[in-house]
């Protein structure tokens, strides 16, 4: 059924939407009707439908991989990697990226309207990484793609890629997991809980029912973003970028103004984030990550998860990433090895911490291009 799509096929192109005809059954037992998925595609699906690559975005990412972000006006989050002649070459591959379930850039999430016409808020069911992937699979069905040439994701995107490979092994031929984990470590759950508590402690959060009140928990969401942002950097990159330099002033003010450049930077990061992200979506998505433990139903035996897989795998970690450090990726590589799956693993050297997967790391480009083929 994977027929070649004519150039005019409305299912393909930038800024697409689809409303699922079937309810989406969720891990938590609930079921969502009329789920809308916002996505983009780049490139062209070939005649036998075999050249599709799905990219999975990170926690606060979105479908705008290689096109200008509609709110911030910035280039797409992986514009340096995805495009004609780039490591993920859109002259050769059809690239798909969907906003994840529970997010706020067009795919159904807590800010969406429930069937009763009011925003879900906390009535939105708690979701998992696998639920996000369920929505991706529904999108692939809509696009008529039976088997992906590859699924690729960094951070939370890597968790989705793993989940897809483990639960829908027949749907993918290559799986690339960058700076991720197969089970959220306690330290990461802890950081995420700080973020969630910051949002929920903001009186403007109003139990999640802040939509249409003229108030939103921007202060809480900004603090959540600031805390998270620290975890995406490395001590080295922070030191290089800011050191102890003061922000637009010659001397300390002996007050609680943002004296240091790093303070000013974080405040800016927090403030701009609230302009493009929904606080409840942040709660739901980080909770899905905290819940993530791929082998939970198999007594933690990760190798069992990939027993039926015929896909090739590639794991990449970065030496300066302390949020998803190398042992997390190595564990997955060893499990895949034990399962007999063809797997590559490499720890690349890059100074930018967890964010390295989004930044200029030429070795990563080489690995991606080689693995994608």
């Amino acid at each position: 059924m994977a027929a070649s799509a004519p150039a005019s096929d409305p299912r393909f192109g930038p800024d697409r939407r689809v409303t699922l005809g079937q309810p989406l059954k969720l891990d938590g037992g609930a079921s969502l009707d009329g789920v809308e998925i916002a996505y983009e595609t780049y490139g062209t699906l070939n005649a036998d439908g075999s050249n599709a690559i799905m990219l999975c975005h990170a926690t606060t990412g979105d479908q705008y991989v290689a096109s200008r972000h509609p709110i911030t006006g910035k280039p797409g989050w992986w514009a340096r990697t995805v495009g004609p002649g780039k490591p993920i070459d859109t002259d050769r591959y059809l690239v798909i990226c969907a906003n994840v379930l529970g997010s706020c850039m067009g795919t159904t999430g807590p800010a969406s309207l429930a069937p009763d016409g009011a925003p879900y808020g906390l009535r939105f069911p708690v979701i998992t990484i696998r639920d996000m992937v369920r929505a991706h699979i529904a999108l692939l069905d809509h696009l008529g793609i039976e088997r992906l040439h590859a699924v690729i994701g960094g951070s939370m995107g890597g968790m989705q890629a793993l989940s897809l490979a483990a639960h829908w092994p027949e749907r993918v031929a290559r799986v690339m997991v960058i700076a991720a984990t197969a089970a959220m470590p306690a330290q990461n759950i802890a950081f995420q809980e700080v973020g969630r508590q910051a949002i929920m402690a903001d009186p403007d959060w109003q139990g999640g029912a802040y939509y249409n009140t003229g108030r939103a928990p921007d202060a809480g969401l900004a603090v959540a973003r600031m805390a998270a942002h620290i975890t995406y950097l490395s001590e080295e990159s922070m030191h290089a970028k800011f050191g102890r330099r003061l922000q637009d002033r010659a001397a300390k003010t002996f007050g609680f103004d943002a004296d240091f450049e790093v303070e000013s930077y974080l405040r800016h990061q927090g403030a701009t984030f609230t302009g493009r992200f929904d606080a409840n979506a942040y709660l739901y998505i980080t909770k899905a990550m905290s819940y993530f433990d791929l082998a939970e139903d198999h007594g933690g035996r990760l190798a069992d998860m990939f027993a039926g897989s015929k896909a090739r795998f590639c794991l990449v970690s970065f030496d300066s990433d302390w949020l998803y450090p190398t042992p997390e990726s190595r564990k997955i590589a060893h499990a895949l090895n034990a399962a007999g799956a063809p797997v590559s693993f490499v720890e690349l050297s890059a100074p930018f911490g967890h964010d390295s997967f989004l930044l200029d790391v030429p070795e990563l480009d080489r690995v991606i291009a080689g693995f994608v083929g």
Partner: protein, 202 residues
């Protein structure tokens, strides 16, 4: 993209590749830039995997479409299940491991057969250099000086045979190289620069 042919391989690797059964499952430990893996996949139809310590080499391998895991032969072989390969290959690496005997045991646990290649420290040139020069030998095959060599466990062909006997490993094949060419096995311990052994655990 995998431009490697058997003929363009390092002599010991070409010899090993020529004796691997077509279609076999192979693990190359210390696979470097993946030249042997690529040749095995391409010319022998093998399911070839690698373990390599240097990340730049691993990146090269992945860029060539090979399946290679970054890891250390001294610590990471334990993660491979028993008999998960037909052949395990350790070329020019045995003398760099912390415990060559344990590394060999791991090879023969992971795979039914093991290929091992190593420079022979009893080659006459090495002997002469030590006997008459009184200094640790620096030769073409062993170019590093004593303080910067990765070769921490120098061995001779007879040393290796003795270890195999002691451990009960069966030697199924042995080949000797001189200046990159196969040489006669007689007095190999004196005349061969380089040895390749094929073993199986009895």
């Amino acid at each position: 993209m995998n431009g490697t042919t058997l003929a363009s391989l390092r002599p010991d690797l070409a010899l090993i590749a020529g004796h691997v059964r077509p279609g076999a499952r192979v693990l190359d430990i210390g696979c470097g830039d993946g030249a042997l893996l690529a040749a095995l996949e391409r010319e022998r139809g093998c399911d070839a995997r690698g373990l390599e310590i240097d990340p730049a080499n691993v990146a090269d391998c992945v860029a060539r479409g090979l399946s290679v895991i970054q890891g250390d032969a001294d610590t990471d072989l334990g993660y491979y299940p028993d008999t998960s390969f037909d052949y395990a290959i350790l070329s020019q690496t045995l003398q760099t491991t912390r415990r060559p005997d344990l590394a060999m045991k791991e090879l023969l646990r992971i795979a039914a057969h093991a290929f091992v290649s190593f420079p022979n420290f009893a080659h006459w040139r090495v002997r002469a250099s030590l006997a008459f020069g009184g200094r640790m030998p620096v030769t073409k095959l062993l170019p590093e000086r004593w303080y910067d060599t990765p070769n921490i466990h120098h061995l001779t062909i007879d040393d290796f045979r003795a270890l195999a006997k002691e451990q009960g490993w069966r030697i199924e094949g042995q080949w000797f190289l001189n200046k990159g060419r196969q040489t006669h096995p007689a007095n190999a311990n004196l005349w061969a620069e380089h040895a390749v052994f094929l073993l199986r655990s009895s």
